[in-house]
Amino acid sequence: ATVVLEVVYWMILFLATAGELICMVYSLILFVDLTIDYINPRELCDRVNDLYWPEFFTHSLLTGMLLARGFYLGFAFSLPLMLFHFRRMQQNRHLLDNTRIFSQVATERRNAMAKLGFYLGLFAYIIVW
């Protein structure tokens, strides 16, 4: 039974991280689409904002799971992003504003890139462990 639990645990971690990775790649594609006029700012913001809460909760779940099993290294690794999320929420900037997106698109794209890198690192950590 412990083996099954173990497998389920790692499967969840693996799938959650993979899901986050897909989210980020999708957002990045959307940002590129915006800059080449493929979609309008409204659509972009609605789609990226729809992803925000799933991403946040999945990441919270990941962090919690790592902490629960005592993987302190992984936990410490994912903590900064957690703080980043909370900070943005505190500033009420976690959701994109479709009226101001064009002035923020460069920063947001950079953020998404950084998050992508971060999840890749986490992904590698989970696979290697």
Binding site: N40, R42, R93, N98, T99, I101, F102
Partner: protein, 933 residues
């Protein structure tokens, strides 16, 4: 037949006063297609201030004289300045005779000096804005005379000489130099008359580079008139790749069968009916007669493809707050007065539609009768605020020309009908009223003119009181000036999609609770509407200003259902847009409504590391429906040479528009950055720019004396204007407090500044101090003789914005662009009142002075008197400012002392340095930055 204009004309510039009034009627008939083209009116270009100083007088080349004599010239027609009318063939129009003296004068052009002259500027000779009468007027009317102008970079003969330093080719132009008229700086203005050739140079320069655009700007200069071009049923000539419009920088090749796009260098084919052979210089033979090939601004009549639907009629919906608050303060009646006064103009277009709603705790719809039947008025009252619906759409929005009598009758009766007595404004259904407006005119689009005196507090869009005066100028201000909730943002986007814009007239009387302008202003911000904020509205004093503002809002030229696109040379990107609009895609601004009183800022950035073109071209295109229901495209094109050295770039900077652009960026950043961070960022930009110049000048082996800076002349004012920016209430906590700014004022200030025209911004950066009394030394100042136009008057020399100007024997007007203050020196106040005709034996209320000053001169009045001249000067300044700008009276040593002191840019305040100290601090930082390298 080729459906393009074939008429010939030449556009020439004349020195002021040389050809004034010399027009003669001509009987020559026009060529067949002449009617398709609008020719600029002639006349003396008075106050022609935006020509670069030193550029001198430009006249026509002798060869052109024969041309002009052979092909009759179009002359002046009286017309609405902003609505170019088309000519009909065969009509007799006066032709212009060119005075012979003008033609023989040589064209004086500045010679391209090898290297850039640098001047040592230090404590002993701190630069200040020029204070001569003419300069002050220019600054008020159109910014600084040093402005981007292609002509300055062209050589004398205009044929094929290449400039060594700029690498700028005259031969690149599509038209001969003498027929070229650049875009007016009122329509488009660039922050520097040169463009860096690489991203590295751009970074090294440090200051932003961009443009301010206002395609609809009105101007009294006949050269600013925009010619109208029609391609008939054939297509407008545009680049196939970048969709840029054909312009004066487009070069024709292949014998005239192909043209190269100036923006993206793509080689396009010339359509058959647009073909014209090239002359010996490789230009089209007819280039001088085609406005699109020889002028910076043109207007095209848009064919069917530019319409998604039939052009909309002008629609005006008035939404008025009907509460005891708006009634007793007089705002309601002042608003009605403004509407009544403009009906005569509105009815000129027989398609105009009008409607009227009032709101308090409920929304009232008025059914308009077609005649002035005095019997009974049908009113529908909507009480269910969460579910807004229309009672009967047929007679609540009516055609003005058919229903004028009924509508006027309604305006007369409405104060009694609107049930204001039962509501004091503490329960206000503003959100529901806006929703009702949306339903009522959503199918057409149009303007929603709104009076609001209280904070919306019931129904959808209700707002909480979140004003806390202590947060002004601190970090917590950011939350207070951000909109509360997304109700108004979502509504504004729906409005924008339906081509509706909201004009807000916010007139809270004194003692009324704050409005939360930060949230309300989202509506005009995203729909390109107007914001008029009259804090502490007192009827007897302010009604006149409100009426005027409403009238101006209704009768000025308005572009309906507009979109604007700005295109720059390939490789350069418009990195940010600043102003009131909604950006629909990367470079497409949705402007449901656009008018002459707003402008946009555009900032450029590099896409690639190098920019290989020799000429940088930027083009703005505004596609709109005129009030006559015609779809038009107004295209402004501006070209500047590309330079490779920092000093050359810096010596072409226009400090006023550069700092205006920085001001606009600051208003944008205030919403998501700390004020302190913005100030630091701006300062580091300026310091890095100045220290780069220092390094470059050292490379040129010119070392400055200790305590001085070596600067090109164009950069002289940068430190002073920058200090003005830092000291303005926008970025300075101290000044906000001194000027008594509350959260509402701050929010309104941000929204007013980000769309303000450049002359307002210039005055905001360095307030104008204009003497009104005594004017003994300047007998010409303010003299408005019979028959003279107001903008032709002379102004007295201005005073520096410093304590040294505050002499007790003086009276002057302090003009900060958005506010005007009449400052009375202690010992001059009495004499000034006597001059204005006040009886001092009775109690005199100084608050009557503004209305006396703004009272127009009557015929038969002695115009040489100081009082009359002071009135003329005040009226001139007021005419250059947003309509409805009130004048406050400040007596020396009176309660407004602190407010006035905060406008003294050059003086020391508790947290800001005096000009001299600021200068030395800058020097220190520059030196320490340079030694770091």
């Amino acid at each position: 037949s080729a459906a393009v204009s074939t008429g010939a004309n030449a556009f020439t510039r004349h020195p002021p006063g040389m050809d004034g009034g010399q027009t003669h009627p001509s009987q020559e008939s026009m060529p067949g297609d002449w009617d398709r083209m609008q020719v600029p009116a002639t006349g003396a270009p008075q106050g022609y201030g935006w020509q670069p100083t030193g550029a001198g007088v430009q006249t026509t080349a002798p060869a052109l004289v024969q041309q002009m004599n052979a092909m009759s010239l179009q002359g002046q027609t009286p017309m609405n300045a902003n609505h170019p009318s088309t000519y009909t063939p065969g009509t007799v129009t006066p032709a212009r005779m060119v005075p012979p003296g003008v033609l023989t004068q040589p064209r004086t052009m500045p010679q391209a000096a090898p290297g850039t002259p640098l001047h040592a500027i230090g404590m002993a000779n701190l630069p200040r804005p020029p204070f001569s009468a003419q300069k002050l007027k220019i600054r008020i009317t159109s910014g600084d005379p040093k402005l981007p102008n292609l002509q300055e970079f062209l050589s004398l003969d205009g044929s094929s000489t290449e400039r060594d330093s700029g690498g700028f080719l005259v031969s690149e132009m599509a038209c001969p130099l003498e027929s070229y008229i650049p875009v007016s700086p009122r329509h488009m203005q660039m922050t520097s008359a040169a463009f860096p050739n690489s991203a590295a140079l751009f970074r090294k320069f440090g200051l932003p580079i961009g443009i301010s655009v206002n395609p609809m700007a009105t101007s009294t200069d006949p050269l600013d008139e925009v010619p109208l071009v029609s391609f008939g049923r054939s297509q407008i000539i545009r680049c196939q790749r970048c969709r840029g419009y054909i312009n004066f920088m487009c070069k024709f090749t292949d014998g005239g069968r192909a043209w190269r796009c100036a923006l993206c260098q793509f080689l396009n084919n010339v359509p058959e009916d647009y073909f014209y052979p090239l002359d010996q210089y490789g230009r089209r033979g007819d280039a001088h007669s085609r406005p699109e090939l020889c002028r910076g601004s043109v207007e095209f009549i848009a064919p069917q493809e530019y319409m998604i639907r039939a052009p909309m009629p002008p629609v005006y919906l008035f939404v008025l707050e009907a509460t005891t608050r708006s009634m007793q303060s007089g705002a309601f009646n002042a608003m009605l007065q403004g509407i009544k006064q403009s009906l005569g103009q509105l009815v000129e277009s027989d398609r105009t539609k009008v409607g009227l709603l009032t709101y308090n705790e409920a929304v009232h719809f008025y059914h308009i009768a077609s005649d002035s039947s005095p019997t009974d008025h049908k009113i529908s009252v909507l009480c269910d605020l969460d579910d807004v619906f229309l009672p009967s759409p047929d007679d609540t929005l009516v055609n003005l020309s058919e229903f004028r009598a009924g509508f006027e009758e309604l305006l007369e009766k409405i104060p009694d009908l609107c049930d204001a007595a039962n509501s004091n404004g503490d329960r206000l259904a503003f959100g529901a009223a806006m929703r009702a407006a949306y339903l009522l005119i959503g199918s057409y689009g149009g303007k929603v003119i709104t009076l609001c005196c209280s904070r919306p507090s019931v129904g959808p869009g209700a707002l909480k009181d979140r004003s806390d005066p202590s947060v002004i100028g601190t970090d917590r201000e950011r939350q207070a000036i951000a909109p509360d909730g997304t109700y108004y943002k979502d509504l504004a986007l729906e409005f924008s999609r339906k081509q509706m814009s909201v004009d807000l007239f916010l007139c809270p009387p004194p003692t009324s609770p704050p409005l939360d302008i930060a949230s309300l202003a989202t509506l005009p911000k995203l729909t390109c509407g107007d914001i008029v904020f009259m804090r502490d509205f007192v009827g007897p004093r302010d009604s006149k200003f409100l009426t005027e503002a409403v009238e101006n809002d209704l009768i000025r030229d308005t572009a309906f259902e507009a979109v604007m696109r700005v295109r720059a040379s390939k490789g350069i990107r418009c990195s940010s847009f600043l102003g009131r609009f909604y950006i629909r895609s990367t470079d497409l601004l949705a402007l449901p409504n656009f008018d002459s009183d707003k402008s946009f800022g555009v900032q450029f950035g590099f896409d690639e590391t190098v920019f290989t073109q020799k000429i940088f071209v930027v083009q703005s295109a505004l596609l709109y429906t005129s009030s006559e229901g015609e779809r038009r495209i107004r295209v402004n094109t501006l070209a500047v040479p590309v330079v490779n050295s920092l000093l050359e770039l810096a010596s072409n900077v226009d400090p006023w528009s550069t700092l205006s652009l920085m001001l606009r960026t600051a208003t944008d950043h205030l919403r998501d950055r700390k004020i302190e961070d913005i100030r630091k960022q701006l300062k580091s930009n300026v310091v890095s720019c100045l220290s780069s110049i220092r390094q470059s000048s050292q490379a040129q082996n010119s070392f400055p004396q200790p305590g001085t800076m070596l600067l090109p002349e164009s950069m002289f004012l940068v430190p002073l204007l920058f200090q003005g920016l830092l000291k303005s209430p926008l970025l300075s906590k101290e000044a906000s407090i001194a000027q008594g700014l509350r959260i509402d004022d701050k929010a309104a200030l941000i929204h007013l500044l980000d769309a303000a025209p450049s002359e307002v911004m210039c005055a905001y950066l360095y307030p104008n101090f204009i003497p009104l009394f005594p004017l003994d030394g300047y007998p010409e100042a303010g003299l408005l003789n019979e028959g003279m136009r107001l903008h032709d008057i002379q102004l007295p020399p201005g005073l520096p914005s410093a304590t040294s100007s505050m002499k007790q024997e003086l009276v002057f007007l302090i003009d900060t662009g958005l506010t005007m203050t009449l400052w009375l020196g202690r010992s001059a106040a009495e004499a000034f009142c006597v001059e204005l005709g006040l009886d001092l034996s009775q109690q005199v209320d100084l608050d009557v002075l503004p209305s006396i000053l703004l009272h127009p001169l009557q015929t038969g009045e002695d115009r040489t008197r100081n009082g009359a001249r002071a009135r003329v000067i005040t009226q001139f300044v007021a005419s250059q400012r947003p309509t409805g700008t009130r004048i406050t009276v400040a007596l020396q040593g009176g309660p407004l002392r602190q407010k006035v002191e905060s406008m003294l840019i050059e003086d020391k305040t508790a947290s800001n340095l005096a000009y001299k100290d600021f200068w030395s601090e800058l020097l220190r930082e520059i030196q320490s930055k340079s030694s770091d390298h």
